[in-house]
Point group: C3
Chain length 331, copies 3
């Protein structure tokens, strides 16, 4: 891309050479004359980058500087074009084992050692990498990418442009049992999973099928590695869930919620639109979490959490104070 | 199943039509005339279900109502018959790579891209789904189901009717090292794993082999997704362990323990029969946890935990009180 | 090995028969005359082991006793020889799908259902077990072992004698997005992963590629199962990270740090050389953690944590004391 094209794409104000050729994104520190980099702060920047995205008013010495409101966002938008996800040429590897009843769209890549079960439908331009195992009656929308060793259970549905990273498991049985005298009887886990368009799910994350109904992940939601999503969870649109968090059965995560890493959400919880849950927090069963920032085990408003943490740090002083009061009362 | 058969199976009291044909289990809300549903509360129920399992005394309008003590358990028992786990017809896929020394029972399904190493024994009626990798000298009891991409290390033993979901790893090396001057020397991880009958293990859960002895999972125990069981852990019968919990080396979990999600059990801990550990709790090394409900980091009796949590919420008030006392003492 | 050879290897003081043949390591309780066992305490030991490693001064009755400073370390050193990791004879399974541009060293084993992409280099004596999927332009140093169903993304580099257990994912995309009005734009995840020599990584652990630069795991570092290492994390040499811990983006873990299980390290944290982080702890963003023992959410020095925990246990007493003071003040 030429620098003037980049400026036009991000709606930025270009200062310097508009005809420079840019081939890739890079950090300011590792950049060369063919690099696009970005600067988020106000500090003056030294870099070898050919082009830098920066906030208005920042002092950047580079052959081309493009001023934008949100340099990191602008950088991401340009890199969507400079670094599109890898797409292998359409082909079906001869070692793939595909039921004759599978419908495969145009432009699809299916790698080695893949299996696809009866009645499944693979949309146009999908990429299914080596070792992925797709069950029966699975539907995958166009443009979706399954990385290596992804597993999709029977009857699950993926929208378009879904990205599943290595080792993701979609549609495994939920965890539900009823206690009989001397054994656990399995509660039926016969529902499905529905993953809407533009969802991205990180490596080795597990998403259980609904027990009777469905588990749903809303459009544009992004989930990190090693996350657990239990049966019948409903996740809204544009939700972000960081690594190693877990959401127990039947909880509802509304649109635009942000959940940091290692968070635990118990069952039958509702997290309302606009709530942000801090790292390592826990929400216990049946709670409703309202908009705002929440932290702690169990979560409280982050302002309250910080106040309480400060009180805790002063607990010893409090105890000393009481001892002093007691002594002065006795004297 | 006919409704009179369902009533007989669960020992319930049938009111209404005993000859209705029921084909599947469903939620009250999604049910149709062919559905069995269940109601746990006392509220009056509106549903299109043909048959409802309910507690004596609840007001349910349906063509057939079966009154039982535990409707959810009864529903689960009926659904074991209506919705048995999927079993593919016996076959060995030509892409499976099976050592000639493997003994395979009757009625076994082995899917595509499976490997089975030397000297392993696969019992009757096992189902081994695509992409599973089974090592040498593994023994799998009859009727067990390995979902896709399951991995079983050399020398491990599974009982009968064991269910391993996608991506489960059994018999990986435990995590033990001895520090030498400038490096870690691996402590030998040469033991085994023994999984008893009727155990079910969730997706991407890992169970380490014993360092020198064995890691054991007792009969009828149920383990959720993304759980970590370290070397030499002994888990009793009918234990329940929810998602993302972890149990460190050599700990003992006695029969009928319940461990909620994201719990951490350190090494050399004993959890006594009848203990229940709340979500996100931690048990630190060498502790013995007695029967009852336990919560917190580290765990305390749940009643104490709740009392302490209430005190914590009042910490600011306590501080104000002390300030008042000090002022009144000075006046 | 003869017992005199064992004594020489570990530099110990042999008492008893130096010509005994020892075939394997075992626990004191399970040992036989061909076993090497070890005793860490001072208590007198009863065992059937042919040879016992023990601390000077301990009363051990065995045909051969070897006195050493660190019996567990000495046992580990001997077991490195008695129980070397399994190495299958060099061979490339016919079902492996290997790009013609891959360079494969001498003595390499490549199992069934493996794929290796364009331009990758597999060093001498590597073992790549069934179902592993290796991308393009991956370099693996000599003597490395990839267990079953391991996934290595394009362009990642492994040193020599690296051990990756089953289901490990190296080089998956990091979790970074920039919020546009009504969607998340992916921040580019186009960096790499560099795993240095002698690193061992546990089952189903995920290591993200750098966003723009690299994620690096230093020489001799040991990582347990189900751990999450985010993009651009730099881990030093001889670091130990136990199960289910997670390290968020761009954090730096210096040499010789020890991180226990279920720990969360937020982004842009530095853990200084010599720090030990206790189980279930959390380090919040941008912190620097200095040498010493740290525990809690968020971490504090373990001595402070224990003091605070004791104060918390006395919180009710504190409250009663205040009530008494108030009453006595009013009287």
């Amino acid at each position: 891309m030429k620098t003037f094209e980049i400026a036009a794409l991000v709606g930025g104000n270009l200062v310097g050479n508009g005809e420079l050729e840019i081939t890739h994104g890079a950090d300011l520190a590792d950049a060369c004359s063919l690099s696009l980099a970005f600067s988020v702060g106000d500090a003056s920047v030294e870099t070898d980058a050919g082009c830098v995205l920066a906030k208005a008013g920042s002092a950047v010495a580079a052959p081309a500087v493009i001023y934008v409101d949100d340099p990191r966002l602008a950088f991401s938008i340009v890199c969507e074009i400079l670094h599109p996800p890898k797409r292998l040429d359409p082909a079906i590897h001869p070692t793939a084992v595909i039921s004759p009843t599978v419908k495969i769209g145009d432009g699809v890549f299916i790698g080695a050692h893949v299996t696809i079960g009866e009645g499944s439908v693979i949309g146009d331009d999908c990429q299914i990498r080596p070792g992925s195992q797709i069950g029966d009656n699975v539907t995958i929308g166009s443009g979706s990418i399954l990385s290596s060793n992804v597993i999709i259970g029977d009857g699950c549905t993926l929208g378009s442009n879904v990205v599943l990273h290595a080792g993701v498991v979609i549609g495994t049985d939920g965890f539900g049992f009823a206690r009989d005298k001397d054994r656990y009887v399995k509660f039926p886990q016969i529902g499905t999973v529905m993953i809407e368009d533009d969802v991205e799910i990180g490596a080795n994350t597990c998403i259980d099928r609904g027990a009777l109904g469905e588990t749903r992940i809303g459009e544009g939601t992004k989930i990190d590695n090693l996350v657990q999503i239990a049966h019948n969870v409903k996740i809204g649109k544009r939700v972000v869930i960081a690594g190693q968090s877990g959401i127990a059965g039947s909880s509802v995560i509304e649109d635009d919620v942000v959940i940091a890493g290692q968070v635990g959400i118990s069952d039958h919880v509702t997290i309302k639109q606009g709530a942000v849950i801090g790292a390592k927090s826990a929400v216990f069963p049946n709670k409703i979490v309202r908009p705002g920032f929440w932290t702690g085990i169990p979560v409280q408003r982050s302002a309250d959490y910080l106040k309480q943490a400060a009180l805790l740090r002063n607990l010893e002083e409090l105890r000393s104070e009481i001892a002093r009061l007691r002594r002065s009362g006795q004297s």
